[in-house]
Assembly symmetry: C2
Homo-oligomer: 146 residues x 2
């Protein structure tokens, strides 16, 4: 189910075959910026992803090496998902995608004030702030959680 031959070896295309859909980047967004790591947490996004889609995307992300899945020691049925280095490396892309729509998509003005402020600070702080967040994620996800 994972390794179909790619339509082309263009880097843009290879990326899109991994996260070029509606939901994958939203899952990563929630893991990066909302600290979600469990299935039930990831279900709670504003966009109302359904359980089968979420299960599929998590499986794909694991298959592509962007996530790892491990047992949560506190509960035998809990699974805990961790970002890998390739996934963390996507943070700048995700931030810039957000920056683009907040600049160019009219609906973005309807975002709540708190989120707008958070986003504005993240942008003004620039790549240094992204790198800091990436280091935090490495500590959280690569340190021991995996």
């Amino acid at each position: 189910m994972a390794a179909n031959t790619p339509r082309s070896y263009c880097p843009i295309n290879l990326s899109l075959e991994i996260f070029g859909d509606t939901w994958t980047l939203l899952v990563l967004r929630d893991m990066m910026f909302s600290g979600k790591r469990h299935f039930r947490e990831l279900l709670q996004s504003d966009e109302r992803i359904s359980t089968n889609i979420l299960a599929d995307r998590l499986a794909r992300l694991v298959a592509h090496g962007l996530l790892t899945k491990a047992d949560d020691p506190t509960h035998k049925q809990k699974a805990i998902y961790s970002l890998t280095e390739p996934a963390i490396a996507l943070l700048p892309v995700i931030v810039q995608i957000g920056a683009w729509s907040s600049r160019w998509v009219p609906d973005a003005r309807k975002l709540d004030a708190a989120s707008r402020k958070f986003l504005r600070e993240l942008q003004e702080a620039g790549p240094r702030a992204w790198a800091r967040r990436m280091d935090e994620l490495r500590a959280l996800h690569l340190g021991q959680g995996a």
Copy 2:
């Protein structure tokens, strides 16, 4: 057919509702880096987009204000598509998406040498080179072609 209410006002989500699919960014890639501006040219990509999908994506991009469509003076049946400023503003995102996969996706090593070289130079040249390319696109697409 265009203005459904968004699933959420999160900037990431708003972006993905515009170009969060397999084909849209590939169309923009071809317009930005291969100079394609006609329907039949855009059909010739390595990924083999089909005519109905291409027609649909072009219409959506026009509806979202990322492209404009005009008559080609040299041929009464030719349509010429032009990038708008919001589309040109997506260039850094597209470049970084390409950079990510060439760093993290194993298949990217199978890209032909010429393309790899082009990509490497574009990355090493950094944001300055992106800005230069964006200026070129503005001249080509906003200057008179629209």
